[in-house]
Amino acid sequence: MPQIAFAPEVFTWPSDDPQLLGGLCGSCAAVTFPQQPSCARCGSVDITSHALPRRGTLWTFTTQDFLPKEPYASGETMETFQPYGVGMVQLGDEVKVEARLTVNDPSALRIGMDVELVVIPFRVDPDGTEIMTYAFAPASDETEGES
C-alpha cells in the first residue's frame, strides 16, 4: 500500500529515525516549529531549516475525545472516531512542539515522561494510499510508573 506524508516539509520521512523540521533564526537562535518565514522573537527573516531532536519530555497533555469539526481531515465520522492524545513535548533546550500522542488514555500519560518521535498512519484515502503523520510515543526505555 503506498504511503505519503501529509506535509513532507514538516518531517523527514521515510527514515528509520524521522525528525521534525523546525526553523532556526540566524539572528537570535530562536527555534520554531514548523519553520516560518520570520522569527517570532526578533522578527528576522534569516531563517533556515533545522531538524529537531527525536526525543523529548512530555510538558503537558490532553486527550481529544470528540470529533473536531472541519477542517479536521481524518475521514472519520462520529461513529468511527478514535480519540487521540495531544501533548506539548519539550525537545532538549530547543523548543516545545505540539503533537499527537500514540496514547489516548490519560492514566498512561505523565507530565515529565520521556517520549520519542514515530510516524503513524493518519488516514487511508479511497485509492488505498495511507496518509502518514508524526506523533510521539512513550520512549522504549521509559519506566512505567516512574514519577
Partner: protein
C-alpha cells in the same frame, strides 16, 4: 485626559433565540442601555460595535435611527468586547466626543468554535491534523497548572457548580439549572481533565454600554460608575498560548498578567481593593488560573480558597456572580460587555438575588482569547 463614566447598561439575554438576528439583539441591547442611561439615540455621538459572526455591527443604526454618526466595527477574538469598550472610552478621554456607545452581538452555531487556521498564522495542516481547537489548549494549560500547583479535579467541578448556581440567580443566563459537582465530574470527557459541564458553550446574545465624559454624567444619572482602567495586551515570546504548534522553552507570563498589572497601575488601586470580579471562564480551569494571573491569589492558593467558598457571592472574593461564561455561554462580541453589565449592577447595588453584600465599590473584568489576547477593565463607584 478626561475621565469616563458609565451611565447606562443593557443586555439582550444570552442563549438560543431561533431566527432572531444578532443585529436585532444588538439594537435591543442598545435601546435598553439608553433607557437605563436616560439618554436617547440622537444624543449618541459615536459607537464601536464588536462581533465575530456579523460583518457590520453598524447595521444596528438601521434599527435605531440613521443619524450618520461614526460607527466603528471591531473584532479581536474573545477580547472583542474589551476592545470596543477601550476604544469608546479612548474617544471620550481624548476629548473628541462626549457620549458614545460600545455594543457587542453574536449568534454562533452550536459546538466548539472553528475557523481557517491560516487566518491565525498557523499552517493549513494544523486544522486538518486535529490541532485547531481552543478547548484542547485550555485542557493542556490547566493540566500542567494542576500538576505544578496541586489543583484537584474536584476544584474544577466546584468552580463550574458555583457558576451554574449563580446562573440560576440570573434571569438573563443561558444555563439556569444548578448541576451538582458529582454530575459535572461524571459528564462526558471532552479534553482531559475537562468534562462537558466544565466548558462554556458558544451561543447568542448582545450587550451595550453607554459612556460619557465624567463631568457630564450627572445630567443623565445619579449613579454613574467610573471606568478607571481599560487595558489590552497580546502574547509575548515565551507564553504558552492558544492555536500555537510550538512554544518557546524559556517561559514568560500570559498576556493577562501584563494587562492586569497595567490596569492596576492605570487605576491606582490593587487587587486587595477589588470587591467583585468577572473572569474569563472559558472552562472551569481558566477561572482558576485567571484568579492568580489577575493578582487575586498566589498560584495554588485556589484549592483552599475555593473549598472555603471564597469565590461565592457571599465570600470575600466573589467571582463570576452572574454565572460567567459557563452559565451564560459566549457570544464572543458581547461577552465582555456582559461582564461590565454585571459589574455596573453590582456597584449600583441593583444586582437583585445575586447582589454581593457590603456595598461593593470596585469591580474588575478580564477577558482572554485567541491567539493570545487579554483585556482588563476596572470600574468603581
Amino acid at each position: 485626559m478626561d475621565d469616563v463614566a458609565i451611565i447606562g447598561v443593557g443586555l439582550h439575554p444570552f442563549g438560543r433565540f431561533g431566527p432572531k438576528s444578532a443585529i436585532d439583539m444588538g439594537a435591543e441591547a442598545i435601546r435598553t442601555s439608553l433607557g437605563d442611561a436616560g439618554a436617547e439615540w440622537k444624543d449618541v455621538q459615536f459607537a464601536f460595535g464588536g462581533s465575530f459572526e456579523v460583518d457590520n455591527p453598524d447595521a444596528v443604526t438601521g434599527r435605531l435611527g440613521l443619524t450618520g454618526i461614526p460607527f466603528m466595527d471591531v473584532y479581536n477574538g474573545c477580547a472583542t468586547a474589551a476592545t470596543a469598550l477601550q476604544l469608546t472610552a479612548d474617544g471620550i478621554r481624548s476629548g473628541q466626543y462626549e457620549i458614545g456607545v460600545a455594543v457587542g452581538m453574536d449568534k454562533h452555531a452550536a459546538g466548539a468554535f472553528t475557523s481557517d487556521p491560516v487566518d491565525y498564522g498557523a499552517p493549513t495542516w494544523y486544522g486538518e491534523q486535529g490541532f485547531f481547537l481552543t478547548t484542547k489548549f485550555f485542557a493542556m494549560k490547566i493540566n500542567r497548572y494542576m500538576h505544578d500547583h496541586g489543583i484537584s479535579h474536584e476544584t474544577l467541578a466546584k468552580v463550574a457548580a458555583k457558576n451554574y448556581r449563580n446562573g440560576g440567580l440570573n434571569p438573563n443566563a443561558f444555563r439556569r439549572k444548578p448541576i451538582p459537582e458529582e454530575e459535572i465530574l461524571a459528564s462526558r470527557m471532552l479534553n482531559y481533565p475537562l468534562t462537558q459541564y466544565m466548558f462554556c458553550a458558544p451561543d447568542e446574545g448582545a450587550a451595550a454600554v453607554v459612556l460619557c465624559r465624567a463631568d457630564i454624567a450627572h445630567r443623565y444619572t445619579s449613579t454613574p460608575i467610573y471606568l478607571r482602567a481599560t487595558t489590552l495586551r497580546t502574547r509575548r515570546y515565551g507564553a504558552f498560548e492558544v492555536h500555537a504548534s510550538w512554544a518557546a522553552v524559556e517561559q514568560d507570563a500570559a498576556p493577562t498578567v501584563y494587562a492586569s498589572k497595567a490596569a492596576y497601575e492605570q487605576a491606582g488601586i490593587g487587587p486587595e481593593d477589588v470587591d467583585v470580579v468577572q473572569l474569563q471562564d472559558t472552562d472551569a480551569g481558566a477561572e482558576i488560573i485567571h484568579m492568580a494571573e489577575n493578582g487575586f491569589c498566589a498560584d495554588g492558593e485556589q484549592e483552599k480558597l475555593i473549598a472555603d467558598g471564597a469565590t461565592e457571592i457571599g465570600g470575600p472574593l466573589p467571582v463570576n456572580t452572574d454565572g460567567g461564561l459557563i452559565a451564560n455561554g459566549e457570544p464572543i462580541g458581547a461577552s465582555g460587555l456582559r461582564q461590565v453589565h454585571e459589574l455596573v449592577h453590582q456597584l449600583r447595588g441593583t444586582a437583585g438575588d445575586r447582589q454581593v453584600p457590603g456595598e461593593p465599590k470596585v469591580g474588575y473584568a478580564q477577558l482572554y482569547g485567541a491567539p493570545g489576547t487579554a483585556g482588563v477593565s476596572i470600574l468603581t463607584t
